[in-house]
């Protein structure tokens, strides 16, 4: 436990509010505002976890989650970045990838075996002979890796998604970003600003140095300037602020995506944000480039901003005796500030020969801090944490050891360019700043601030302002947005700021790329994947020359940190080493890259730029199902509902999922089913018939008034996509049904396949506005007769006409007939006589609003026959016994019309109609390799095979579509798609099931249909 400095004005924690959390089963105390990492550090935890491959101890390094060092398991979720996660009351935190504990990991010995694991070792060993790999894999999986996710883990928490739009999106809430946001918002534009930390302020937020701004006569510290800007931004009516929000992707058309971590008051834990903007300002700032030396990731080695922010933001002094090895002025500033806060600083080594801020040099001298110019850390000592460091001159001639508990190491800065490159900016290496800078910017995108190499605080603010104004200009130049005078005024304002920025200091000279004069066996270029300098050299010596390939071969930069640690160093090192080895130079020392003639090429970055929970992308669990008008009544009748496609449907009406009672009731009496999910359409207009001829395989000109026609639709491969019935209402006016699953795509399909013809027709989707009652069973006519007779005689029609309408006898309303009538003079019914379940059966189509009334009328009329509900499963068995197909069950994507035995539907004479599927059907007609739909019964009274079971011999020969134990037939029957040589009646088929333990079950091909083959029942 270390003491917290409670009185700093820069603090972002509230030391008065304690937060109790659990770490490895014990209670720990943090304070409000702490991240899990800072709270653990406060409690004395130094080793946070073990590394992926070598199980090296790892600790706090960057404080912004750029490496996996401090990833832990929190509340069951592995690989949580503890540096970015605020500690909460009752959190359960555990270390990961350790055997024992992070402090004493039994796998730690692997670190000594690194010589056995050169670059690409996974690719080169353990695959010959092939039998070795399964054994090796088990061991590797035990030893390597990060967190472990329990397979039955269920993600807790609430997730959400929002899709706002904005004129200008600003990425980064630092000084440049805030200025950009204010500049654009002051022009009346709607601005969104996104900041990854829970507060605005960026790298001004923790610094106490003077803000040197000529406009402000009274100088003030940077942090108060940051807070002044932040309060302006947060109170601006035109600016929407997203804090604790990481940007994970930027795309063409100025689309920006990210995720926000919710606060206690938010209704979400995390939410996905996708913003469509007219212009984008990227002011993402810089991160630090790791210094490469032996054991450069030993706990106790930290970056400058990590130590500085620990002190200033969290009130924690990271160590007692510190050594600095840095390459930029922020390092010198931190040394001065930390000295003033009470840290003992043994020396500050600087790799730069010149270019230091003279003011900082004076401050260092005032405090008697030894300053070593041209020195660098070459090796950290100490087995679990740093206890000594060797400092060396850049040429390696002089060395000196210092005992210390903290090494503050940073080679220089590197811009966060991912937001630009994802939007297709091309990067170029700039030898002045030593940055990769954007050569060409994406359209309507502007960069600002420190990522341009600016160091002077006023330059940074002005660059932000300029970017904001340029973004505003993008918006105002859009068609019909604004008048010319306004645009001219904006342009001249931009000119004046551009002139002003030229007076200010430009991009600062960056530190040259430096590696300590060591061999690099334990100099880590990538912490996540345990990749060393030595590994990179091995890869290059094997012939890899492109950083992109070296990245893959050594896996440097492929870990959770997404290249945050090696992103800059890898291409620089590759350029330096390849140049050096080609000229036989020593690979150590501080030679300038440019002078060696190699141009560093950055590796690609890809979204997500920051690890994102899949739960966040999934958003909230909206389960949106459609309900039929009969939903409530069927539930009241004991319906057991299931999700079927987009609908919730009553699948059963009892606990008996074999549905025996429901089935027997339909076969022997009368039942009713809610068929409202059926696709229902009306097509009319002068060219309506032409459309039907195009999409249906049958000759639709033969559809007769008063009759229904069953037909099918195919796709261009002849495969069946839909079946249903068509009714002619009038000339070029038809009513047709589609299967439930096709309803959503039907209009699109019709329009697509007529898109070149310019035909005049209208299609209306009536699926939701019409409901369907299916009335089936031998007593169905008696029930219907009672229903249609409930006419109170109020209509003016003459009696004989009415009598003929109300006549539902077999002669007046035969099988395949269609009739329209009114019930109680009110409910208009389209009635069809069909036989899907194989019995006398009527489909009554009525407007949805009348469904409940009609349902009650039918139920009331059926009472004397004891009418019962039946559900989708009973219907499935009934129609299967009759061998009526359901598309998607008796077919899959490759099943064509002929395979199903529905070839009789196809009219081959209507070539001019260019019917969809006709060409392919003609070509497939004599193809012996196609599957056939067959009926089969199980041998020896065996149980039905399961749906989807395979038909096999020594190979797979087909599969079972639907099979059930049939009560009507007293045996198990089913339909299957099989190779044509198995299709003959009498063929014995072998069925393989997952559950059968190698034992096959057998069936025999029998004629179809199984039930009432002559169709007497449904036709009489």
């Amino acid at each position: 436990m270390i003491n917290r400095i409670n009185q700093l004005p820069t603090l972002r924690v509230d030391p008065a509010n304690k937060v109790i959390f659990d770490y490895k089963g014990k209670d720990y105390v943090g304070v409000e505002g702490d991240t899990v990492a800072t709270a653990l550090y406060h409690n004395g935890v130094r080793i946070f976890g073990r590394s992926l491959k070598y199980h090296r101890p790892r600790g706090l390094y960057s404080l912004d989650g750029e490496c996996s060092n401090t990833c832990m398991e929190i509340d069951g979720i592995p690989n949580v970045r503890t540096e970015n996660t605020l500690v909460k009351q009752g959190m359960r935190v555990k270390e990961q990838n350790v055997k024992g504990s992070a402090e004493n990991d039994m796998m730690g010995f692997i670190d000594k075996l690194d010589w056995m694991m050169p670059a690409g070792f996974y690719y080169k060993t353990m695959h010959k002979p092939a039998s070795i790999w399964p054994i090796a894999m088990k061991q590797i999986r035990k030893a390597a890796g990060l967190g472990v996710l329990s397979p039955d883990f269920e993600m807790p928490g609430k997730f959400d998604q929002i899709f706002p739009s904005a004129d200008v999106v600003v990425i980064g809430g630092g000084p440049a970003g805030m200025n950009a946001a204010l500049a654009a918002a002051d022009k009346g534009l709607r601005v969104i600003i996104m900041e990854s930390r829970p507060w605005l302020g960026g790298f001004f937020d923790y610094r106490t140095f003077d803000y040197k701004d000529a406009q402000y006569k009274n100088s003030k510290p940077l942090y108060s300037r940051a807070r002044e800007l932040a309060s302006k931004v947060e109170s601006h009516a035109n600016i929407r602020v997203f804090k604790h929000t990481s940007v994970v992707g930027t795309y063409t058309n100025n689309l920006v995506t990210g995720f926000q971590i919710g606060t206690e008051n938010d209704k979400f834990n995390e939410r996905y944000i996708e913003i469509r903007a007219k212009s984008v300002v990227v002011a993402a700032g810089c991160i630090e480039r790791p210094l490469l030396f032996e054991n450069n990731e030993r706990p106790g080695v930290m970056q400058v901003a990590c130590v500085h922010r620990l002190a200033r933001t969290y009130g924690l002094l990271a160590g007692e005796k510190a050594i600095f090895s840095v390459g930029h002025d922020l390092g010198l500033e931190a040394a001065v500030d930390l000295f003033d806060l009470g840290m003992k600083i043994l020396c500050v080594a600087d790799v730069r020969e010149d270019g230091q801020n003279p003011y900082l040099m004076i401050e260092l001298a005032k405090r008697n801090i030894p300053y070593l110019k041209g020195w660098v850390a070459s090796k950290a000592h100490g087995s679990k944490r740093v206890n000594k460091v060797t400092m060396t001159t850049l040429d390696g001639t002089i060395s000196r050891d210092f005992e210390c508990d903290l090494v503050i190491a940073s080679a220089g800065l590197t811009p966060i360019n991912g937001h630009l490159t994802l939007a297709h900016a091309k990067l170029r290496y700039d030898s002045h700043t030593n940055f990769f800078v954007a050569d060409t910017m994406p359209e309507k995108t502007h960069a600002a601030g420190r990522m341009l190499g600016l160091e002077d605080s006023l330059s940074i603010e002005v660059s932000g302002k300029l970017a904001g104004l340029n973004a505003a200009l993008d918006c105002k130049l859009m068609p019909q947005s604004y008048g010319n005078t306004e645009i001219d005024a904006l342009k001249s304002e931009i000119d004046s700021f551009t002139a002003q920025s030229k007076e200010l200091p430009g991009p600062a000279r960056g530190s040259k790329f430096v590696t300590a004069p060591v061999k690099g066996r334990k100099s880590f270029i990538c912490f996540d994947e345990d990749t060393t300098i030595k590994n990179i050299k091995q890869a290059i010596d094997m012939g890899f020359d492109v950083p992109e390939l070296i990245k893959r071969f050594t896996s440097a930069g492929t870990g959770p940190g997404q290249g945050g640690i090696p992103g800059h160093n890898l291409p620089l090192y590759v350029a330096k080493y390849t140049a050096a080895s080609s000229k036989c130079f020593s690979s150590s020392g501080s030679s300038s890259i440019q002078s060696l003639g190699a141009t560093p090429k950055p590796t690609n970055v890809r979204p997500p730029l920051v690890p994102t929970l899949i739960a966040t992308y999934a958003g909230s669990k909206h389960i949106m199902m459609k309900r039929t008008p009969m939903d409530e009544m069927q539930r009241a009748d004991g319906g057991v509902f299931r999700k079927i496609g987009v609908w919730e449907r009553a699948r059963y009406f009892s606990d008996d999922f074999s549905c025996r009672k429901e089935i027997e009731n339909v076969r022997n009496n009368v039942g009713m089913l809610d068929g409202s999910t059926l696709g229902k359409f009306r097509i009319h207009g002068p060219d309506a018939l032409k459309v039907l001829q195009r999409v249906y395989v049958s000759d639709m000109s033969k559809v007769k008034t008063g009759r229904v026609k069953y037909s099918a639709m195919c796709n261009d491969d002849g495969c069946v996509i839909d079946d249903g019935v068509v009714v002619k209402l009038a000339e070029n006016d038809y009513y047709f049904t589609t299967s439930t699953a096709r309803a959503g795509a039907t209009i699109e399909w019709l329009r697509y396949h007529t898109r070149f013809d310019g035909w005049d027709f209208y299609v209306v989707n009536l699926t939701d506005s019409m409901g369907v009652i299916n009335l089936s069973g031998p007593n169905a006519r008696k029930v219907l007769q009672k229903v249609v007779s409930q006419d109170n005689g109020a209509s003016g029609e003459d009696a004989s006409n009415k009598a003929s309408i109300q006549d539902v006898s077999n002669e007046a309303f035969p099988f395949s007939g269609y009739k329209e009538f009114m019930i109680k003079n009110t409910i208009p019914v389209k009635a069809m006589r069909l036989g899907f379940v194989g019995e006398l059966s009527y489909e009554l189509h009525v407007p949805s609003s009348y469904m409940v009334s009609l349902w009650n009328i039918v139920k009331e009329a059926g009472k004397e026959f004891n009418i019962q509900n039946f559900g989708v499963e009973a219907q499935n068995v009934l129609r299967m016994e009759k061998c009526h197909i359901i598309l998607g069950q008796e077919s899959e994507q490759r099943t064509n019309l002929l395979d199903l035995g529905l070839g009789f539907l196809w009219d081959r004479s209507k070539k001019d109609a260019k019917t969809i599927g006709a060409v392919a059907l003609r070509q497939a007609e004599n193809d012996p390799t196609r599957f056939r739909l067959v009926g089969f019964e199980m041998e020896n009274n065996g149980r039905a095979a399961r749906d989807g079971a395979l038909i096999v011999d020594d190979k797979v020969r087909g599969y079972v579509c639907t099979a059930r134990d049939s009560f009507s037939l007293n045996k198990a029957v089913g339909m299957a798609l099989v190779e044509s040589h198995l299709a003959k009646v009498g063929t014995r088929i072998q069925i393989f099931e997952d559950e059968c333990g190698g034992e096959r079950i057998y069936g025999t091909v029998v004629p179809m249909p199984f039930y009432d083959p002559d169709g007497k029942r449904m036709k009489s």
Binding site: T252, N253, R276, E748, R751, R755, F756, D757, K914, Q923
Partner: protein
């Protein structure tokens, strides 16, 4: 989705509202004289241009109409119709 598409009826909208309908390959050929080869090519083969191509889209969550646009398949942005196609 970064893509935006201009529907001839509804105007410029988010790409989520549309469904892709394939490259523009012209009207359905006459059935006579078609070989399995030429039919298969019409139905299944695509140019897959890296760059500007003319393609069909449907405004599925809007007016439901089918129309063509020109799209740069590398940058995934809608581009202006070239003069020759107007």
């Amino acid at each position: 989705m970064s893509l935006t598409i201009t529907c001839p009826i509804c105007g410029k909208r988010d790409g989520y509202e549309f469904r892709f309908g394939g490259e523009d390959k012209g009207p359905r050929p006459d059935e006579d004289g078609l070989t399995p080869q030429s039919w298969c090519e019409y139905v299944h083969l695509n140019e897959c241009v890296a760059g500007r191509q003319k393609e069909w889209w449907v405004h599925k969550d809007g007016c439901g109409s089918w129309f063509t646009i020109h799209r740069d398949s590398v940058m995934n942005v809608e581009v202006a119709t070239p003069e020759a196609h107007k």
